[in-house]
Amino acid sequence: MGYVESPRSTCALGGALSLINSLDRAVPIIHAGPGCGSVLTFGQNLGGGYQHIGYASGSAAPSSNTLEKHVVFGGEDRLREQIQSTIELVDADLYFVVTGCTAGLIGDDVKAVVAEFSGKDREVIVAETPGFKGSTYAGHGLALRSLLDQVTRPAQAKFSRAVNLFGVVAAQDPFWQGNLAEIRRLLERIGLEVILSGDGDTVETIRRAAGAGLSILLSGGAHVSAVKHFRERFDVPYLRHALPIGTETAAFLRQVANATGIDRNAVEAVIADEEQVFWKYMTKLSEAYAFILVNREFGVVADSSYAVSITRFLTADLGLTPKIVVVTDEPADDERETVRREILDLPNGLAPTVVFEPDGYRIGEALRANRPDILIGSSADKDIARSLHVPILTVSYPLVDRLALSNGYTGYRGAVNLAEDLGTAILSAM
């Protein structure tokens, strides 16, 4: 923790809202001050590439809007009234109460109030996510754990060839939908069923998620606790792999196949087919490569998942030289070595400077001290890129100079997108 300039995340409540916005027919009931829901939506959804996401988000998100009287006398009655009226007015499958700082600090017994509504023919659940509990990632992890705890049912039968995807945070990863779609496409191609994907999950799929044979965690450390808890509770093992991009996808698919008992030959056939298409497009790139990409020394400013996978792709597939990698999502102390090791797992002994830093000003200092000649970062890094006369491709939050709809950067198709967008960034800066 500690002060941070130009923050690259919202708060725990923002993370909880991000999770709810990624679900199908789920409505948040925000028990917090009157501004939280709006501030977080304006910040998060618009800051993630101007996306309108969520069944009832932004100005449509139910919120108890606690004022001074509730801070002084308690907000439980107001919350009860709000849950009641939300169920009456909003047609949803899941009513998800999430709390902000006021409820967290005055000590409303939110769980007790929510319990009054459960046990009926609808899901009314709660996650305590006051902003001071941490970043968007932390809140997303907390809310995910609450969701699985309160909605998932013990499995009647186990399906070894069914998996759950966890850890991609809607809008905080502006390309979350495109990224998940490609991972899902590839997993289905090797013969797996994806129960929970992180995009459009329904109450029905969340209920039967314990039937999966494997959880796949695609992010940094903020979701480890939720996924481990899910393993303990429902006996679903997990494997962790940063978002695969380019030929790293083969390693990812082999690892998943291994863990789910998919036939090795079938997987190799898929990999060969996908790689053939991938290299067809890389061949197409090769003319421009010689012109604009060759010998580039790149910098990455992104969260740990993107930092690992983008660095790997640009180094191992595109043959660029990693100069500096700034990890912005403040992994816990015991996580940092893992992230550092994953970033530095590169061919040809290449070893960029790795910095863990959320503060915009100090990120600028790090980039000045290790000047790259192409930067992959967020819109907040455009000033520094301009001052260093370095072209920049913006991919990470906050993303306000691009739209993010269906585009994605994972897998084989996403890798082609990334190479294409990177080249375009260089060309358009010329």
Binding site: P7, C11, N65, L67, V71, S85, L89, F132
Partner: protein
């Protein structure tokens, strides 16, 4: 929350501002006359606005200022979006591009137990070191308020150690459900850095004009043009202006505003401290309200005699083009969706274009700035339109969109996307739109004509979006949830 530390009175306390009303313009006028406009709570409410939003967003746009949000990290989330206002605002004024400078003290679990004052002190010292800024504003939050961090005392203690002027703003989010309370907190916080004018330094021909973040440079240029015609100069305050122009704000001959909704408390305190007279006309949109604005400002500045000839000349100059626009939009039914001040002023323009306003919205209402404009409009267009007062509250907008099926929304960021998703085309009035004064009336009128050309996107989109409300809600009264117990 110590008693000395409470900052400005809330709008609810000071002006009996309300945030819940659905009825006709006539009804609100009648209630206001009878003195029975009363706040009611909602049994169901949606994400609204808090007292912290405006201090954060506005102080980020004072040139060179660093804003520190003494809060968990999410409260400063809107800075991402404000950076866009900042970029376009700077570009239009020929200022070099630069990101807003915002720091969050990032209060965590440990801080809410042990207090966050030390972290705030570190952030202030570091902001001063990094940027050597003329000013640093420090914004409080729900969390800092509830845990009882005494920001005023800290600022007093730290001030001798930094070069920047420290400006604390007490604006805990839970203090008020009225967004304008935040404007009061923001603007009045600047009083402490305004200097007493030196003898002979008064600029009697200059009007201090408050510029809201949603009104962009082309509008300022139009106002400057009109003021120049009556021999006056404008000094914009406080956004996109050098901090020196904040300090010398009291040198002017008088003060006025482009949005009377936001300036009210500041002007009273400004006059008390510096004896600067003020005028608070409605936003100068359309012919009638621009006339009124010029008359009020002209009266205050002692140039009334020149105002009438300027009005006559401006009216004559735009009438032919206004008539052309009128031919194209006459009878079109509009839903006007902004804060009340902007909505009523745009409604005035629409009335001049012979359009029909079916709904006019406001995030809040108080007699102090709403009554005169509503009386004016009711006398001109009959008062049958629906007035919706709600601090956002999308479910009521959705009900009214469905009920009224307007031909278009004249609206901004808050309602624009929602109208499209309900199949209604949008005439946008955005932060970069030109809509003030006589020139703005033409420009805005042309925008409305253009927005009616091709409604394909909204029409198609509306068929594919399912809003989250039960079908029964659309058949209910939009008032149904106003009047909760809590």
């Amino acid at each position: 929350m110590s008693a000395t530390n409470r900052g400005v009175p809330t709008r609810e306390e000071r002006l009996h501002t309300i945030t819940a009303f659905v009825g006709s313009g006539q009804e609100l006028e009648h209630n206001a006359r009878a003195g029975c406009v009363k706040q009611q709570d909602r049994r169901f409410s949606q994400a609204a606005a808090c007292a912290e939003m405006m201090p954060l967003c506005n102080s980020a746009l004072i040139d060179g200022n660093v804003v520190i949000a003494h809060s968990p990290v999410g409260c400063s989330g809107m800075l991402t979006l404000i950076n866009l206002f900042n970029k376009t605002g700077r570009l239009m004024r020929g200022l070099p591009p630069a990101n807003v400078r915002g720091i969050s003290t990032n209060l965590g679990e440990r801080d809410v137990v042990y207090g966050g004052a030390d972290e705030l002190e570190r952030a202030i010292l570091e902001a001063d070191r990094r940027y050597n800024p003329p000013a640093i504003t420090v914004i409080t939050s729900c969390a800092s308020g509830i845990i009882g961090d005494d920001v005023d005392a800290l600022v007093t203690r730290v001030q001798p150690n930094v070069k920047a002027s420290l400006i604390p703003i007490q604006c805990e989010g839970f203090k008020s459900g009225v967004v304008a309370t935040g404007y009061d907190a923001f603007l009045s916080s600047l009083l402490r850095v305004i200097d007493k004018p030196k003898r002979g330094k008064k600029r009697k021909d200059t009007v201090l004009l408050i510029n809201p973040l949603s009104i962009s440079r082309p509008n300022e240029v139009e106002i400057e043009r009109l003021l120049a015609k009556v021999g006056l100069k404008a000094q914009w305050f406080p956004l996109f202006t050098d901090f020196a122009n904040v300090r010398n704000a009291a040198e002017v001959g008088g003060a006025s505003t482009l949005c009377s909704l936001m300036s009210n408390y500041f002007f009273q305190e400004f006059e008390r401290s510096f004896c600067v007279p003020f005028a608070e006309p409605s936003m100068p949109v359309g012919v009638e309200f621009t006339d009124l604005w010029l008359r009020k400002v002209g009266d205050m500045m002692g140039v009334s005699d020149r105002v009438e000839e300027v009005i006559a000349a401006e009216r004559a100059a735009i009438e032919p083009q206004l008539a052309e626009i009128r031919e194209k939009v006459r009878g079109k039914r509009a839903y006007v969706g902004f804060n009340l001040e902007k909505s009523l002023s745009l409604q005035s323009l629409l009335t001049e274009l012979e359009m029909v306003t079916v709904v006019s919205t406001g995030f809040e209402y108080s007699d102090a700035y709403g009554k005169a404009a509503i009386e004016n409009l009711n006398s001109r267009c009959g008062g049958k339109y629906t007035l919706h007062i709600g601090n956002f509250q999308h479910f009521e907008w959705a009900n009214l969109f469905h009920r009224e099926k307007p031909d278009l929304l004249v609206g901004g960021l808050e309602l624009g996307g929602w109208a499209l998703r309900q199949g209604i085309p949008v005439a946008p009035v955005l932060p970069h739109t030109f809509f003030l004064g006589y020139g703005g009336a033409l420009s805005c009128g042309k925008d409305i004509v253009n927005s009616l050309r091709n409604a394909s996107f909204s029409a198609n989109l509306g068929r594919h979006v399912k809003l989250p409300y039960r079908q029964g809600w659309y058949e209910s009264s939009p008032l149904a949830y106003i009047g909760g117990k809590q």
